[in-house]
């Protein structure tokens, strides 16, 4: 084992290199083309828990969705039945660090017939649909629980849909598909079955096509314990082009239907009675579409997609009953089709043009993950944690490697550069040649625990331990501005910071090992940093050509605590105004007050950079502290409940016009009524009440509990209570 330490030292240096470019956008279920084929020049072949593991990160909750990748980011979804939360995670592909942990939804109540209760937990997870990343945005689906579009950079949601509620006793399996305009989703439940296209920018419905499949099974299942069981399906659609026309191949219960993606018009359908619970994603190759049905009559169908209407009798080129898998999708390479059965792991190689079997090989184990193809090799990830590498040869092959990991695989593998990204039921692995995990790392390996969230339940938990983590968090923000910046930039949530602080405390308790000294870097105000803030000040000078101005700053709306000291009352230059905002600048006169959103701050030059998103540069009335919610001194230190009218609800902050207050016993305010009739800025809605925040609008009357723990800050933090009220 001595030698392994040397190896560690060597490879840590190598770890600064960047991942190569191939497959850099493994952005959807089964990769760029949705067919499980990776174009990476080389992927690791042999590995185990030590060898060729670049990093391994615990993933909390339960999620069988496959990882998707965009540049250096790996995105996953997960759900937690205990906390009732559905989350999206972003993991840094270089380090394995979770850089974003976003609570997307609170689970809605789910009614499940007793007939399914026994099988649904092990048949599916609350987060099985694989997200899809498209440039700036990531689209996450939890089926009936909701669909959301998140900004990849800020983690904020662009839109959400929670109105598509159907009865899915075994939850959702179908992943969303995206093209230039639309996001496509299948909803094949027991009670309703439809396919829907949403405008990917707004989430609005573009079209919706009812499946409209009737078969003899419908009547047979009527009156049984599982009526409509034959309507369920879990398959992800595939976009293809046939003779210049785009088609969306969308398997449903007992039928596979091709739609015109632009209009939703049905192009053709093939009926496969008894073939439901479809899970495999279709593949288009050799002029054929390969569909694998499941349910009570499983089969592999090869369909000629050039037909119109019901082509069951005319366009099924060939079909292979029974020996096809129930769950994993196939791989098609040229004229060969490979597939692995879910039970027993029997791999078959077929002639893809005729369906004739060329060879078969038993791997053993159960296989739910879809295989991967790279450089003439097939990768099969089993539920038993074994990753078998099989040469894709013409003759029955011998496995090239059988890699056993301490894992269970259901999610399908992904590729980032020349690394394999494998998601087990508990962890995310980055498998890359030339790396090695240390014994210590493996020994220290944490099993994922339930999410620590700073909501009521964790507050209770904290109370029981008599540690006020909220207060420690606030203190940490003061003492370490880097944390504040991270939180401001959306790089970390309060929950993560608290988790970090807890880890630090426990580690300090037992003596920190040298390798885990990964503290946030100090030096808050050096160099050019991200600084998302609203700045209000009087215009002192402007250059409408170079896009520069100087402000005498009256007020900075930011939670970065250095900002006030550095900026307020100072004359500061702001650069980078361009395009239509130059017109705004043209019309604002010197001496007038300007409201501008910044994006960066260069501490050395004491210069602000104009924001690049949600841009604001406008004339505003002269600064009045009360307009912006700067509290009177008598109110500072308040804890308790406030009631009033929402003036503005933006960026997870509320500007409240207060009409009443109710102090808590621990309130430190000298006179809570001093705030009556004035405005106060309340922040922290990103952590508490994220969903309800979306429903808050100017003019609403609310009651909200707040705490002003840092007396010198101008904003108060929301705590556990938030409800709408009557005026």
């Amino acid at each position: 084992m001595k030698s392994s330490i040397l190896v560690v030292a060597f490879f840590v240096t190598a770890s600064t290199s960047r991942l190569p470019a191939a497959d850099s956008h493994w952005n959807q279920f089964r990769g760029p083309e949705g067919d499980g084929v990776s174009s990476a020049s080389r992927l690791p072949i042999q590995f185990d828990e030590f060898k060729n593991v670049r990093w391994k990160t615990a993933i909390a909750g339960s999620g069988w969705s496959s990882p998707v990748i965009w540049d250096n980011e790996i995105w996953l979804t997960t759900g937690d039945l205990q906390t009732g939360q559905l989350r999206a995670l972003c993991v840094d592909a270089q380090t394995g660090t979770i850089t974003k942990d976003i609570k997307v939804f609170e689970m809605l109540d789910r009614v499940v017939d007793p007939a399914y209760e026994a099988d649904s937990p092990h048949l599916n997870s609350p987060a099985t649909p694989t997200p899809v990343v498209d440039d700036d945005y990531i689209y996450v689906s939890y089926g009936s629980q909701g669909i959301a579009c998140l900004d990849r950079e800020t983690g904020q949601r662009r839109w959400e849909r929670r109105d598509l509620r159907i009865y899915q006793p075994v939850r959702q399996g179908s992943s969303p598909v995206v093209d230039r305009q639309n996001l496509y989703l299948a909803f094949d439940g027991n009670d309703q079955q439809f396919f829907i296209a949403l405008d990917k920018r707004t989430g609005r419905t573009r079209w919706r096509a009812d499946r409209n499949v009737q078969t003899a099974l419908d009547a047979k299942l009527q009156g049984t314990s599982k009526p409509g069981d034959n309507k369920k399906s879990f398959a992800t659609a595939q976009l293809i082009t046939v003779q210049g026309q785009r088609q969306l191949i969308a398997p449903a219960g007992e039928a596979t239907i091709a739609y015109d993606p632009d209009s939703g018009d049905e192009i053709w359908r093939v009926m496969h009675p008894g073939g439901f619970n479809v899970a495999a994603r279709p593949i288009h190759a050799n002029g054929l579409v390969y569909v694998i049905t499941s349910g009570i009559s499983q089969a592999l169908l090869a369909i000629d997609p050039s037909g119109r209407g019901d082509v069951t009798d005319t366009h099924v080129a060939w079909s292979l009953p029974r020996s096809s898998p129930n769950i994993p999708s196939p791989i098609v390479v040229g004229k060969r089709l490979f597939m692995v059965t879910d039970k027993g792991g029997i791999v078959r190689c077929l002639d893809a043009t005729t369906g004739d079997e060329i060879w078969r090989e038993r791997l053993g184990g159960n296989h739910w993950a879809s295989p991967l193809f790279n450089q003439r090799r097939l990768y099969f990830c089993g539920k038993n944690g074994e990753v078998v590498v099989l040469p894709a040869t013409m003759e029955s092959p011998e496995p090239e490697a059988r890699n056993q990991l301490d894992a269970s695989f259901i999610a399908s593998p992904a590729v980032a550069g020349s690394s394999l990204i494998l998601r087990s039921r508990t962890h995310l692995y980055c498998i890359a040649d030339g790396y090695r995990r240390s014994e210590e790392a493996i020994a220290d390996e944490s099993r994922p625990k339930a999410h620590l969230v700073a909501d009521q339940s964790s507050a209770e938990m904290n109370a029981s331990k008599e540690i006020d983590w909220d207060a420690i968090y606030e203190k940490a923000l003061q003492s370490n501005p880097a944390i504040g910046r991270k939180v401001d930039a959306g790089d970390a949530t309060k929950a993560q910071v608290i988790e970090y602080l807890q880890r630090m405390r426990s580690e300090t308790g037992k003596g920190m090992s040298s390798k885990s000294k990964k503290q946030p870097k100090p030096g808050a105000t050096k160099g050019n940093v991200n600084f998302y803030a609203i700045v209000i000040g009087r215009l002192m000078s402007k250059d409408i050509e170079l896009g520069e101005l100087e402000l005498n700053i009256d007020f900075v709306l930011s939670s970065a605590n250095w900002a006030k000291e550095r900026l307020v009352g100072k004359r500061v230059r702001l650069v980078g105004v361009a395009g239509p905002f130059l017109d705004n600048l043209l019309e604002i006169k010197r001496g007038e007050t300007v409201k501008v959103r910044t994006g960066s701050y260069d501490a050395d030059a004491n210069t602000l950079g104009f924001g690049y998103k949600f841009q604001v540069l406008e004339r505003t009335p002269p600064f009045q502290p009360s307009d912006f919610g700067v509290p009177p001194d008598e109110f500072r230190g308040f804890q308790g409940e406030l009631g009033g009218k929402v003036v503005e609800a933006l960026g997870y902050e509320v500007l409240l016009e207060v009409s009443e207050s109710k102090s808590a016993h621990n309130s430190q305010a000298l006179d809570a009524t001093a705030i009556h009739g004035k405005r106060i800025r309340i922040e922290g809605f990103y952590i508490h009440h994220q969903e309800m925040f979306a429903d808050l609008h100017a003019g609403d009357f609310i009651r909200v509990s707040v705490a002003h723990r840092q007396r010198d800050r101008d904003a108060v933090s929301v705590t556990n209570v938030l409800r709408k009220s009557d005026p």
């Binding site: 470019a21 191939a22 850099s24 956008h25 174009s39 020049s41 440039d135 700036d136 990849r152 950079e153 082009t241 046939v242 003779q243 210049g244 026309q245 632009d262 209009s263 018009d265 050799n286 002029g287 054929l288 000629d304 997609p305 050039s306 119109r308 209407g309 366009h315 080129a317 050019n528 991200n530 050509e545 170079l546 896009g547 650069v575 980078g576 361009a578 395009g579 239509p580 130059l582 017109d583 043209l586 019309e587 994006g599 960066s600 950079g609 104009f610 924001g611 690049y612």
Partner: protein, 757 residues
Amino acid sequence: MLKFTMIALMVWIVSTGPHALAEPIMPASQRFVTRETADVPDFQRHVIPLLGKLGCNSAACHGSFQGQGGFRLSLFGFDFSADHLALHARSLDHSDQRVNLDVPPQSLIVSKPTEQADHEGGQLFEPGSWHHHLLLRWIESGGLGTKPADPGPAPESESAYGHSVGATHQVLIDLHYEPTAIQFEAPGDGRSLRIVAQWDDGTYEDVTCLTRFRSNDDSVVRVDADGVATAVGPGDTHIIAFYDNGVAAIPVVHPYGTPDEWHIESNPQGVDRFVNAKLRQVGLVPSKPCTDAEFLRRVRIDMTGTLPTPEEVTLFLQDASEDKRNRKVDELLQRSTYAAWWANKLCDFTGCNPKSISSLLEVAREEGYVKASQWYDWIYDRVARNEPYDRLAAGMMLADLAGQDDGMPLFWKRQSLQEPKDTAMSVAHAFLGIQLQCAECHKHPFDRWSQSDFNQFAQFFDSITKSKRRAEVSDHMELRLLRSERIQLQPGDDPRRPIMEWMRMPDNPWFARAFVNRVWASYFHRGIVDPPDQFTPANPPSNPPLLDWLAGGFIDSGYDMKWLHRQIATSDAYQRSWRPNATNRNDRRNFSRSIPRRVPAEVVYDAMKQATAATEDQSEVRADLRRRTIGHLSMRMAGTHAMKVFGKPDRSINCDCERVNEPTLLQAIFTQNDPLVRMRIADSGWLFEVERLEDGDVSLNPNRLARQVWLRTVGRHPRTSELDRATAHLASTSSITEGLADLMWAMLNTKEFLLNH
């Protein structure tokens, strides 16, 4: 019909074109005149062209993406398999068949267009006509389709086609036409066209009755469905004939008159030889040479995007030497503003858009503008030192994507290039003046490119577009380069290299032509091919020898951009007056006069600043490129109100049409009221200067000051009547400064200021 045939035959016999080879097959209109014929029509050669000619597969009818009445044909009819399938599919309500092999007359495709069954498209031919017989004969003979030829390497061509019946797809070798040119003498004159298709099996067929015709200018010539051209009025244009994938452009000239007075030099040089030859052919008398003041302002704007200073105007007008215009051209080509304005134009052509090249993560730090400025500077440096154009283009085409050479890689890194085809379209537009947009989805009848041509060209850019970091192919590929040659690519090859080599070949049909034509279009407000980025067979050059000579000379000069500018700017054609004469009032394509055009957005913005600047700032306000909209501000100013109103392109689409040079009402409102104009006058350094003198009780000469306003805005001395009105106004205001401000505002609002004339 008989008469038409006679004429056609006579034309055929008389002509001795190079293609008078085998006797062509008789036209379908004759062969199917009787119902009893034994001839069998061919799906590709006859049925689809007939449906096309009748308009069945147009976007408004069954060629629409939704089809019409449940029946959908491929747009313009180039998907023979899909069309054949559609024709054989049952109608929407399943009651009738479009093609009824058992009872052919009951087929909807004959009962609908004859209106024996209700047809929203109306009656398209008479029962008993040859059209009717042709379709009936096709159905009777089995309604066969066209078998795709060798599928080739196009990615989609492998899709199964289960109805492989009928003849194999044939290749149209050429579309011959008679006469090869039409010369009309008087309105009402008529000529019949005859179109003969030459197929790869060696047969020739008269396809006039199946050819679609279009006139490129209905005020010159009209053409009917039978190919009979009728003269409408004087001018020159082309009749375009389309059949299968062939396009023929037949030149039509109808002289404006037989001019007896010529101001043309007897021994023209350079481009004038070709321009004047065409003018004689079309019977146009060119306008007289423009005045010196007109020339100076015009060439200053076109060449340097900058107004002349008042001193420059005065000196130029005083200069009595013969060669002062040529010397001015040489002088301007040395100026930084020449490099700035043409770097700006080249940024237009190549799509330098800050939003598209900012990385998503770093934009907060102005990365997009910084990178766009690098792109601009890179071009500026090369224009300034007059690097040959082909080297400039190669610097972008072959740039190392990691920035390890002195090329400009940002062209390839734009986020707008999401797919290889986006890159292919951008390269074709930027360097070849070709629009490939249509070929992305279907072959456009007016253009030569098929989807396969397009897909193969797009494959070159596969690796670059997907990684934006590597320009090397990973697999062995053999690709057709826009129908020119087959390129073998080995793993590791830079796929851009063979394209650049091909572009640099002297016989490349577009690379040099596209550039000289764009430069020409900038000087004349009209390309020799116009629009300048539409090099298509249906849009031929107005003066082919001129374009050939200019492109050839440009290549021979070693792609010397200054040579090109000099050829154009020193020509008589460029230096004509905008005032039309009796013959050339309606001419816009033969360069017989100068066409007044709106000054480009960037130049308007800068010109307002120059016109109002203090005397001592006159040269700095022109030369400080950091603050010129034709210079570095070009990128930052894009998207401002002023730039939108005056049509500065965003550089977000592949089209020269993105720059709009048309006058609009909003522009008039802008020059009258916009805060920017008010600010320019209120903050005018020159008016401050005058005000200081006036406050200091210095006696001012209103005459001289008013004259300054003309020199500053329109680059000439005022006429006596104009000067009298101006001085009268200056005498009526409370101060001269106030009067001058009015005068300045009025001049900024004249057409003369906003136009380059």
